[in-house]
Subunit: 153 residues, 3 copies
């Protein structure tokens, strides 16, 4: 009988700001989390991700390598970020092929939303269950699969 | 180096009915769970949520404050409920602005479905991956983003 | 006060190949996981599921009873498989009514994708957030809800 190598979710090499709250279990490593942030349970945040001050990351969300989230953002439950768009027909063997995501300040992302590698400007609202496939440069509410502007803010 | 405040997922101040099974880890607090319910792993259920008798909540689901689920329901995996629709362009600062969800009896909700604050009548089926944005008052199968009636039952 | 029966996520009766890595917590039981696989945190894999050699299953995914995944596949984060389509208007009481899913080799499935019981041929890419409702027999990139062919590969 083969036995697997068992690793355990952990908090490793994370740079925390002041007054951060984390609800375990989580898997956070090599990332930066600003002042007064909240990180809910069952969250994974990977290397090189940056979460700005006063941003809340709710349960079940996944923030991948290459994502920068601004200040005063709200990341709902079950939100998934993506850095590899399988442009060669499958996973990029080389992490240099991973793409970056930049989320501005005061952005609110609804639960179960999915974000391809994009830039989103300040103050945008992404509806629950939306799939964001393109950059968003105008403040407004976006929803659907693929996400489209519902109304300006 | 700042250290975060570490909290841990738990079962706190939950009113359980008879013969409930819970698969840990879960984060359940200040909520009510009826007789003969099943709660799978990696589930979060918040304050003031009510889960009716014989309802099953599968892994990875999130039930928020203000949700009432009837009896004999099936909540699939990765189902997310929502109480704050960011109507002011971001999270409501005041929980009095949160909206309620009422799920009837015998409702089945497919995996990865997302439910905005709505009322759903008895016996409805919500397809996997659906995003429910409006009340449902007719028994049937609903799917898509936004969810639409596929066929009556 | 009633007390629930508390079970705990575990690794039970799993047949592992060589050099598998698993990041706990996970809930894996009665399933088969091939050589050189990776299983991320917060993953559930149920009885009778088969995961082929060198396939990676990322965090938050759920693989149900009746799913067979080929070799060299990438299962993203928050991917949900389904075996019960509620064809009688709710959960099948009888597991013989559950349907099977067959995923070929070299298939890449984007994060937050949802898969109804289907067959998918080798080399397919499923976009993030897609809801796959039909068999896929042609190599290509499929996305949307319901998933449609975006382009051939």
């Amino acid at each position: 009988m083969n036995q697997p190598t068992l690793l355990t979710s952990q908090i490793r090499d994370v740079v925390f700001g002041k007054d951060v709250k984390v609800v375990q279990p989580v898997n956070l490593y090599d990332c930066s989390i600003g002042d007064n942030c909240f990180i809910g349970p069952f969250v994974e945040i990977q290397s090189n991700a940056i979460v700005g001050n006063r941003t809340r990351v709710q349960s079940h969300s996944f923030i991948c390598d290459g994502v920068t989230i601004g200040e005063d953002c709200f990341i709902g439950h079950g939100v998934m970020f993506i850095n590899d768009v399988f442009s060669g027909g499958g996973p990029a063997g080389d992490r240099n092929a991973w793409k970056k995501t930049i989320i501005g300040n005061g952005v609110s992302i609804g639960s179960n939303a999915t974000l391809l590698p994009v830039s989103i400007c300040d103050g945008v609202v992404i509806g629950a269950g939306a799939v964001v496939t393109k950059d968003i440069q105008e403040k407004g509410i976006y929803a659907g699969n693929p996400a489209r502007l519902l109304r300006r803010l």
